[in-house]
């Protein structure tokens, strides 16, 4: 599960949208929020094509979303909306825990919208969770790293619509960069590179303008694994402060383990 909810923004392909407060259904309508260039918005050629796209956009059932996305792709293979349809399919597969489907749909989305930072970050985050123990693990992790680094490059040069004010963008960009570093941390962890893991998780946790308990929890775990109990303790304590409850519970158990290890 992504720590940062991209339901609030979708980045890339010259689009940034901030749908919360605009559409009523945050994040669902990638190309319908503020655009850098409205003239370049993907156009449905027929009302029926848009009907089906909107059906997908408002769908809250991931299985239904997958079915609609597949129907859309079969019916409108030349649609300008197809890249976004695959992105929805990727998100639906992710919600269903279907890694292969997530990967397949995400790759298709990036074929059509190669600069879509949302898709890049989703794949970068998901791949390391499933790469271990697979024959193609090394290749997959390299792919995930490429996505994370591309998203960071994209974020550093991205032009945004004027509706998003500079301060708001600063926060959003910080959150997204933190997510990219978190993904890189997971990739390094899967590669069993402990120093790299700590370095990336530390960047994610410390640079996020909206600090996340999960990121401090991951950092604490990495420190604990590296036998750096004081730093681990601080990170777990911060995770407990930030929550949510599921994070808090794990962090408390980890803290107790550290304390237990010290007890003679």
């Amino acid at each position: 599960m992504r720590n940062l909810r991209f339901i609030e923004i979708v980045l890339g392909w010259s689009i940034v949208l901030a749908t919360a407060g605009l559409s009523g259904t945050p994040g669902a309508f990638a190309q319908f929020g503020p655009l850098v260039n409205t003239m370049n918005a993907p156009q449905a050629k027929t009302e029926e094509e848009l009907d089906l796209y909107l059906e997908l956009a408002v769908s809250t059932n991931p299985r239904a979303s997958m079915e609609i996305a597949e129907r859309f792709a079969a019916k409108y293979p030349e649609s300008e909306l197809l890249g976004l349809v695959y992105e929805y399919e990727m998100q639906a597969c992710q919600r269903l825990g279907d890694f292969e489907g997530t990967l397949r749909a995400g790759r298709k989305a990036l074929e059509l919208l190669p600069d879509n930072a949302d898709t890049q970050l989703t794949l970068a985050s998901v791949i390391p969770d499933h790469a271990q123990g697979r024959e193609d693990s090394t290749k997959l992790l390299r792919e995930a790293e490429e996505y994370a680094r591309r998203s960071l490059r994209e974020l550093s040069t991205m032009r945004i619509p004027k509706e998003i004010l500079p301060d708001r963008w600063k926060t959003l960009r910080g959150q997204l960069e933190a997510q990219a570093h978190e993904a890189l941390g997971k990739i390094e962890r899967a590669r069993e590179n402990l120093e790299g893991t700590i370095s990336e998780f530390a960047l994610a946790a410390s640079q996020n303008p909206v600090p996340q308990g999960t990121q401090f929890l991951e950092l604490g775990a990495a420190y604990a694994q590296a036998r750096r109990p004081e730093e681990a303790k601080k990170a777990f304590q911060r995770a407990i402060e930030l929550g949510p409850d599921s994070v808090r519970g794990v962090a408390q158990r980890e803290l107790a383990k550290i304390a237990g290890n010290r007890t003679p």
Binding site: G24, T38, Q43, L50, L54, V58, I160, P166
Partner: protein
């Protein structure tokens, strides 16, 4: 794009923040127009309880109207007019997607009125589906060829989105034929004339729009601004009066302050120009152009520290925001 249009566009880009104008033109396209749609000519024999929805709509109590329509739809799920009204309420509640889905339901159930097509078109426009917008407005025109709004909306659309001033002119002329006293349509026509290189015609049309604004006591500053810009080199005193009038009509409109600042700058009134550009920067915080103007103005007044600070802000914003 013709050479004439390119020339005018270049001139505009230099002298005025064109994107602001386009945003403003586009912005009001879907503002006032849809508010007018509740009075549907197709609803002459509505179910008795639909009157309450219409009353709520006239009072702009959209949330309550939406609730009322949803309740009625439970009792009359086959009534396409209720889906139409659901669409209108959702549109007004800034739910363009919900509006489209409701309007499409009405359409699929057989409702075929100019108001439905126009409203659906506006909702498409709102989510940047311009091809579908054009199709729907054309359908609305077929069903009601004497509807000013449809021609005006198409005119504005072709001018601001399609960059096709020839077509825009055609629709705006029709709109003006139907309602000759609408300053917004006349102003839009003047913009088209200017973009097509017909400067004298444009000036005459801006003047006509200004006269109408004054006669009708409307708060519509755009013709004053554009006329001020055009007069700047030949009659700066008159340009200043017009720019000041634009600010008076719309004190919260950054573009009005920007024109005034440019006029004051050209007249050597640097402190006044600085004050206006600071207002522009406050009203439009993502716009880099006032910061560059301030950089230049502070340099002129030998305040190099302030100039450098403004240049830095300009560079930061310019790197972040797409330019027109």
């Amino acid at each position: 794009m013709s050479l004439g249009t390119q020339r005018v566009l270049t001139e505009l880009a230099e002298k005025l923040s064109w994107v602001i104008l386009l945003a403003c033109l586009s912005g009001d396209c879907l503002g006032a127009l849809v508010v007018a749609s509740p009075w549907s000519s197709s609803d002459e024999t509505p179910p008795a309880d639909l009157q309450e929805v219409k009353t709520l709509a006239r009072q702009h109590r959209w949330s309550e109207a939406a609730t009322q329509v949803d309740a009625l739809l439970k009792q009359h799920p086959d009534d396409p007019r209720l889906f139409y009204w659901q669409g209108v309420a959702r549109f007004q509640l800034a739910d363009s997607i919900g509006a489209i889905m409701a309007f499409r339901s009405a359409e699929r159930m057989g409702l075929d009125t100019a108001d439905l097509h126009k409203s659906l078109g506006y909702a498409y426009w709102k989510i940047h589906q311009y091809t579908l917008f054009e199709q729907q407005i054309q359908k609305a025109i077929q069903l009601n060829p004497s509807d000013y709004e449809s021609y005006y909306a198409l005119g504005r659309h072709y001018q601001s989105i399609r960059d096709d001033c020839t077509k825009a002119e055609e629709y705006l002329h029709k709109a003006i034929q139907l309602k000759p006293d609408q300053p917004k349509a006349i102003f839009s026509l003047a913009v088209c004339q200017e973009m097509l290189g017909h400067r004298d015609d444009a000036m005459a049309t801006y003047t006509e729009a200004m006269n109408l604004v004054e006669a009708k006591h409307e708060k519509y500053p755009w013709p004053f601004q554009e006329m001020a810009r055009l007069l700047l080199s030949q009659d700066p005193d008159q340009a200043l009066k017009l720019a000041q009038r634009a600010v008076e009509l719309a004190p919260q409109l950054n573009a009005a302050h920007q024109i005034l600042a440019k006029v004051e700058d050209a007249m050597g009134k640097y402190p006044e120009a600085i004050a206006e550009q600071l207002t522009v920067a406050r009203l439009d915080p993502s716009n880099p152009s006032p910061h560059y103007a301030l950089f230049v103005l502070y340099k002129k007044t030998h305040d190099l520290e302030a100039a450098q600070a403004q240049l830095k802000q300009f560079q930061e914003l310019n790197a972040l925001y797409a330019q027109p």
